[in-house]
Symmetry: D2
Subunit: 364 residues, 4 copies
């Protein structure tokens, strides 16, 4: 109830602080019998890892994951899977006057007000570092969904600051440090270099997508598939907006164009983003999220200290000038966790799905 467990039937309990001895999670509810090793998880962790380009934080963490339980002779047993990631490159001294002041736009202030105490080292619990265990848990969900339904999760950056990024192909995403679906990222690199020199930070827009999602996932009133996706995405650090399918563009659409026609060969379009009435249509899930600029910047900002007096705060240390850059694998993982949870929920009430009608296509 204190908000550190994600999911209901595939439930991931996250623990740790940015500069504590270790971070990790416990996955409860994983179906038994799936082959699983650390290597299956490490791949996605490496995609999210800091220090991999000059555009992200230079903190050097191998983020090597260890499976502590729930796997026997290389297969999941149905019991909790505990995953542990040691913190190895904490430098708590970098945090200068943050201990006594509050960064504008940062959780410093609210944690202090909520708990009356906060671990300020590296942002403590509010650090984006805590997304690493979710990426690890997401890798387990992805593997099961892939084997079972062929479900695939993909993400890419579609805008950085005020620079929109066109879509050329998913194939380009792994080949540049931005997760951009284009071949030429020179403009993005220049933009980021200038930003870093200016001691400033910027926002980003990310698209995440899932294909081969079973029809019929999601609950009727509150735990709608799209509601749970919105919850998952808005819970990622720095996210300020979430869209499904046509999103905010649907405001200006007419009913005659927005509603996706059904044909015997499948849906003719995907304004719905793969969800109708909160339940998956079987089309691709299409999600877009807005990420705000990093609050930890070296440009001095007006603030107050913990006694309430005015001061200025400057954040030294190692930070991402655009947290959106590393957000793609995180958003994919969260989407996978939502889909996984809903597959198990669906099985509980309705048994294994038997689809009675063909329609699906469009958008893949």
């Amino acid at each position: 109830m204190s908000g550190n467990t994600f999911g209901h039937l595939f439930a991931v309990t996250n623990f740790g602080e940015s500069h504590g001895p270790a971070i990790g999670c416990v996955i409860d509810g994983c179906p038994p019998g799936m082959e699983l090793s650390e290597a299956d998880i490490q791949t996605d962790l490496d995609r999210r890892r800091p220090g991999t380009s000059r555009h992200v934080t230079q903190r050097n963490e191998p983020d090597a994951v260890q499976i502590l339980s729930g796997v026997y002779q290389g297969r999941t047993t149905g019991t909790p899977i505990a995953l542990l990631i040691q913190n190895t490159d904490q430098r708590s001294k970098d945090y200068g006057n943050i201990l006594e002041t509050f960064r504008p736009g940062h959780a410093d202030y609210t944690y202090f007000q909520k708990y009356g105490i906060r671990d300020p080292r590296g942002g403590g619990r509010s650090s984006a570092r805590l997304t690493a265990p979710m990426v690890a848990a997401g890798a387990v969900a992805k593997k099961w969904l892939k084997e079972r339904f062929g479900t695939e999760f993909r993400g890419c950056m579609t805008q950085v600051g005020d620079v929109p990024i066109g879509f050329e192909s998913w194939d380009h995403v792994p080949h540049n440090p931005f997760f951009a679906p284009v071949t030429d990222v020179a403009a993005l690199e220049d933009y980021m270099d200038a930003l870093r020199k200016a001691g400033d930070s910027c926002g980003a827009r990310i698209r995440v997508s899932a294909s081969n999602v079973p029809v019929g996932l999601g609950e009727p009133l509150f735990d709608k598939m799209d509601a749970d996706i919105a919850y998952a995405m808005m819970g990622i650090n720095a996210v300020k907006g979430v869209e499904i399918g046509a999103g905010f563009a649907s405001v200006a659409q007419r009913g005659t164009t927005h509603g996706d026609s059904l044909t015997p060969a499948g849906f003719a379009s995907n304004n719905a983003g793969g969800v109708l009435g909160g339940i998956s249509t079987g089309q691709d899930l299409e999600v877009s999220i807005a990420i705000k600029p990093t609050s930890s910047i070296i440009t001095p900002r007006d603030s107050i200290d913990s006694a309430g007096n005015p001061t200025q705060v400057v954040t030294k240390g190692r930070h991402d000038p655009c947290v959106g850059i590393r957000a793609t694998p995180i958003a994919e993982a969260m989407l996978a966790l939502v889909v996984m949870d809903h597959v198990l929920r669906h099985r509980a009430q309705c048994g294994d799905v038997v689809h009675t009608l063909p329609p699906i296509p469009a958008s893949r």
Copy 2:
């Protein structure tokens, strides 16, 4: 787990179908000792009620609420509050060929695939009529929060179709059928009249806001205040996008402008929309949602029937040409339910809040 309960500590379990004998909800967790009568709830129900202008569905429902339990001698006792609303104006015959076909953009298709059976009368469980019990439950939460903290919830329409609506004053909202914060709604009326004649529907954009929200509400990792707001809003029928504070505009912002400065007199701005690190800052909560066009329109659309054969579907009966028009009180109610739940969660772990620092202002 089947998604019909909203909230954790102030938990609202919703039941009913559009054309069944009754709809309602059970509120579990309401603090004891609060004065409560049907009249306290009816006011908000009346704001959401159908049939109040020519721009909404002409179904005539008094939506009179009855308290079945949880109140003794005019005060809440701490036990479940069951609220019942009789359905009185069902006309199930209006639904022509919907019984055997699927409306493009509607939950018809997904319910059928999920359950293998669906109640098609008036949209059954997927009808927006099921938001009525939430408005009722929200009224209970609003009352408690108002008495305890002076919290106020307000909403207004900010765009209908492609017509943006400026903001003049909250005072105008109750005086026009659109919940528009302006005095002159002639253009909106013309727009809606033309749309209705064209047999089409349109989307809308709604803003919801809460003031006098305690600082420190929300959980650190997953049940963040903004994540839960996104979940609540995306769960409202037809919503396709949610923003908190600067929302999607934050993508193009710089860290130097986005982060709200703290001063001894309070925050200097509210790009955060009242939430930092998932925890309320004490500033106004600011939320914006996108609502898609109604899928039930009289213009013929391509679809398939339940045997998978191509057909055309025309929706007769009484429908809202813009479901967004009645969405304002619904969005307010859902926001109130989120805040209420988080107040109780906060009390559980941290006890009653004692704020140690003054900052709050800006935006009220």
Copy 3:
């Protein structure tokens, strides 16, 4: 979280007070497609109904159940099933000085201390009348389990006061007002008549059993099948003890006799009561519960009033001299709800069970 919902995946939310306008429940998570009518539910309600013999309360309630939602054309749709039972024979005047005093052994005192307010009419929320909606919900679970697995739930009284009741046959249970598995209940009738004349009350011991329970139900650590049964049974009004299988007798047993041998033809005995390591063995679930004497008696008892002053309390009105008499159908219903919930939980994580080994027999 306020304890009015039973179960997780087959979740029953109960509401109402003894003398309010109505009581009822909402079942969330029922699988779709099952035939269901009020008649399916009424049978069990009639078994629990007051006023059916001189040995139970003379309150005359038809306990007629109405299905408000979740059923379309005689089949469950997968959406919430709301069940309503009107209260028709409240006589709130009977409660004399209970309004201002606390009955020894009754929840009067604790409700007052917890909430600072209580509905004293008929015991309010603490009345055993609130088990009626559970019996109704249990009937839905029983029906589904019967159709799916042939599961049967049976209960009987095994002791009343200090009079033990032998076991002759399940067949006798419906033919006497005690749910006793014997033909001759004259001694029980005499015992109860004497007790009533003495203005006193007594306890009872009840056995509940389930056969044709699937193997493999229950979770490994906390939501063990036996833990959830203990929770369900101890939650029934007036229950003070719960045993599974050999129960307290197992304290004096040796490992060589207690552990049930496995043979190719099945288990050789059932000391386990159908549960090993918290997971069902497929043998009969065997449960025994202790029910304390009713606290509402006409013999004067020492107590205090709500100002803390000494007083005497006498309970007039209509009460069961032995609440255990009507407990049998309640205990059966609660056991059915536990099994049902675990079937759905099992399906979620492990899919539909494929048993790989024959052993089961013994004890049926």
Copy 4:
């Protein structure tokens, strides 16, 4: 939902297997600001530790606990507290033919049927070793409750096999290996020595008690204090029965004697065991549990192998001949976790308790 998390607001997620690299838990919901170190937890772990007398398993585990998160500068921060205990003395070879057979009375069979795969090393997940993290979590709860309300948890053995143990004083409990409240344990030692020589095992009966428990804890219908205690206790390995207060003895009591009179000086007796209507009275919580004989014994037993063929099974390796001996600190911990969870639940709905009446006494 897979049953590895205990509690709702003070939620403990347990992970690990008997012979895996480590076991542990994550506590979510601990109030912030409490001083906490490993030493606070180690004391109770040492009481439960194996290898401390000849009457328990000779597995030699230091059970040294490490705090991985949730504590900053010696104080809890309100974020998850992860506790890790390394397994150091696994000897997986000891398990002979257990890999392919099922011990009578053991979870071997049910785990295999449920999951289709099981970790047989040391009982895997079904090992009583997994109670260690609960003892650790219970120590955190105990500390908070002690500081806040002066609540104390105590337990003792009241019967071993067919040998009843009288009650002399709580003071004797720490001074013998049986947690017996007597000075002379020679008879118990002889009994256990004979049992071990016979290659057999026996059951035990344990009493647990809590004093200075706040009045008003527990929920009205399902999460009653006694129901949650029954759930917690029946979830401990090998427990087959649970009693609250007078327990099964209440069956033969009359209402005139069972109901505890209230006087201005407090309750006159405690048949209720500290709970009325599911809500704590403020008197001592009194609980008694039955523990069955260990199923792992060296005497050959009839069983089947995983192909369903008849065989005999002999359990070599290191086992407790009476698991009840080490159960006392476990039962205390589970009781503490139940009380802690209910304190937080009570605060959520009702705020901090203000007791309005004096009665409490009796039984301390």
